[in-house]
Subunit: 133 residues, 2 copies
């Protein structure tokens, strides 16, 4: 059995506690300031984001990666492959619900994920992960 | 012909100037402070990043998205689908060279991209884009 050091107030989690079908949830609201900070750090000042308040798809993916990297499966994992689909636009100040679900536990783990604003899916996809320590 | 308003000091670009095979390049070095800022904004405090200085894959993708959203094809475009592959780790303070290449010009545009540190590919993939204005 292998324990993970979990950061930012989450409880300590044993990998053996995960099984196919395990899910975690998180919520996040992105403010205009968050969007501007993200634009500054990424260099993505696309007018779609800056003028219309459409949240960067890469920002949504960052939040999903944060849930994967801190909660399921958590620290020590690294994404090696990913697919992303952005069927609808996400706007600042919308309440985003992130779901990550464990799909496969092998040498390479697989998770699926989605981000929803009420019934509107703004991102869905899957990721393959390895543990590097 | 359709002109784009281009931000951050790039010249005004006419869409007709792009053709299949058009490429743009950009370089970026990610410092520890950048990595910490990204962790704070995304919530991704995975120890792989914080302790070992491995740049978040989602951060690399943000930079690529920035090149797509400001240079090729530029403002007004929105990513609707993407694949990402992270064959090698990227570390802070490495000089990253981003290349984006136009693959298809239709109703949905397609670009391919990669991020290299010298000969080491740290991210490659493709993206489908629409213009929303």
């Amino acid at each position: 059995m292998r324990f993970l050091t979990v950061v930012r107030g989450f409880s300590e989690i044993a990998l053996k506690d995960f099984k196919v079908g395990s899910k975690v949830f998180a919520t996040r609201k992105i403010t205009r300031k968050d969007l501007e900070d993200f634009a500054r750090i990424s260099g993505d000042f696309n007018t779609v984001h800056m003028n219309e308040g459409v949240v960067h798809g890469a920002f949504l993916n960052s939040i999903v990666s944060g849930v994967i990297g801190t909660k399921l499966p958590g620290p020590g994992c690294l994404v090696v492959q990913q697919t992303l689909n952005f069927p609808k636009k996400c706007f600042i100040n919308e309440e985003i619900k992130v779901t990550v679900e464990l799909e496969e536990i092998r040498k390479i783990w697989k998770v699926s994920f989605n981000c929803k604003v009420e019934d509107k899916t703004v991102l869905f996809g899957d990721a393959k992960l390895v543990f590097i320590k």
